[in-house]
Amino acid sequence: MAEHAGVYLRLAAASVRATARRPAYLVVRFLSAGMIVVIEVAGVVLMLDRFGSIGGWRPAEVVVLFGLAFTAQGLALMFGDTLEADKVSELVRRGTFDQVLTRPTSPLGWVVASYVDTRFVGRMLAGAVTVAWAADRAGVAWTPGRAGLAALAVACAATIIFGVLLAAAGFTFVTVQGSEAVNVLIYGGQYLASYPMQIYGSALRFVFVWVIPIGLAIYVPALGVLGRQGPAGLPGWLAWLSAPVAGAFAALGGLAWRAGIRHYVGTGS
């Protein structure tokens, strides 16, 4: 796969060049994506300031979670948007996926690299700025360790979201229909992970820490960044567990993708 890396980068660059042909449109999408993040954060701040705290967390600390979740989502969607069930469903129905399979590349690499949505760069940047601003408000003293944890949170959560997209895409090869349920996981999951996990009931917590571990990926490293103690019984090294967990989850997603392709090749939808 490494030999192909250059090819995928070029494909991605070509996609960016193609979208750059309408720069005004690009800028609008970028700005609007950034503004949505800003607005959501503003709303949360307005509300939390009135209440003073939630689950023992100060507003600025919660906003750090929001920032991390948005950044991760932006990163994942920047590449994974093409895997959205609706788009894959269209690829299959139109027969365009056949062409993807005639290329000397992995179909996943091709699909991902062939369209990089820069609108999500706006989301990512706004998310990162949010983290910086909120961390400052929360009095976080940045150390390399803490910065590493923040990066870990973003990377792992992004990997998990990407895994969700992969799995959903794999299913779409079989059902050939788009599914909004995926959006619930991607947007709902991000929203849920933006609040401290202890406010949720055990069922929700279990699902989003151990099944679709985006809660784990954001919350636990954030504890480290904010210098907070987790709820009693949460070991300190749990933060680093999020990496293999995220990786395993994405790998499962990859298996679903592969199974989907095998089905496609077998039945020639």
Partner: protein, 258 residues
């Protein structure tokens, strides 16, 4: 008159046929509703009342929001604009009768379908499981129903205004994309408007976005009179505005030929 009712029915039938989308939509509503409920429960753990709202008010807000989501941010938002750009809409303007009323009738049919298949079930289930603050009397429920319908009407009127930008520019989507985040916030879909700081709140209470969500929430939680009045007033104002826009657009089409 019969024509408008027919359109109403047609819109209703059209929207109820999207069963898969309905299931997915209910799932989305349920999920976000549950998460928001958890958030408010956590917020109200240490306080009884904030900005005049208690936990029951807040939960009612959450589930009216989820119920009305698909009514306000209708998935068919851009259909009008696309019909305008493609030239199909010209035929609509040439037919006898009132095009605005026709559009309203069809749209209302669709939003009524959403109200019946999504809003009411969502609110009912939430009311059974959670301590919402909903009217206890039949009269109160009727007023709530009226308020939901008025919200649907205002939703159409605002969507019409945004869609009609297509008469003047092909970049209607970009325009909206830039404005949307602010609308999203000011209509109360991020957090209840009640939590806005004083001066901002006073300003926002006068906006046509209030009838979309905050007014029905207020009708549900008790302050029916003022909220309903706001909705009716905005329906009237937006009606006038909508007709003015349509008249301008028709004139433009006649001059420029679509």
């Amino acid at each position: 008159m019969r024509a408008y009712l027919a359109l109403l029915r047609a819109g209703f039938q059209r929207q109820t046929s999207y069963r898969l989308a309905l299931a997915a939509g209910l799932l989305t509503n349920a999920f976000f509703g549950v998460v928001r409920t958890a958030v408010f429960y956590a917020l109200y753990r240490e306080r009884d009342q904030v900005a005049g709202l208690d936990v029951a008010d807040a939960l009612t807000y959450v589930w009216v929001l989820e119920g009305l989501f698909a009514v306000v941010w209708a998935p068919w938002f851009w259909e009008l604009a696309e019909a305008i750009r493609s030239g199909e809409f010209v035929a609509e303007l040439l037919r006898p009768g009132d095009p605005y009323l026709r559009l309203l009738a069809f749209d209302l049919g669709r939003t009524l379908s959403v109200l019946v298949t999504r809003t009411v079930p969502t609110l009912t289930v939430a009311a059974l499981l959670l301590p919402l603050r909903l009217p206890a009397t039949l009269g109160g429920l009727v007023l709530l129903g009226a308020s939901l319908v008025l919200a649907a009407v205002v939703s159409f009127q605002l969507r019409f205004l945004f869609g009609s930008a297509a008469f003047w520019t092909p970049d209607y989507r970009s325009l909206f994309m830039l404005v949307f985040p602010v609308l999203w916030l000011l209509s109360g879909f991020v957090v209840p408007v009640d939590f806005f700081p004083g001066p901002l709140r006073a300003l926002v209470d006068w906006s046509p976005l209030i009838p979309l969500l905050m007014a029905p929430v207020r009708v549900a939680t008790g302050a029916a009179g003022a909220a309903l009045a706001t909705q009716v007033a905005w329906v009237a104002l937006l009606w006038l505005g909508g007709r003015a826009v349509l008249a301008l657009a028709s004139r433009r089409l006649v001059v420029h030929g679509g």
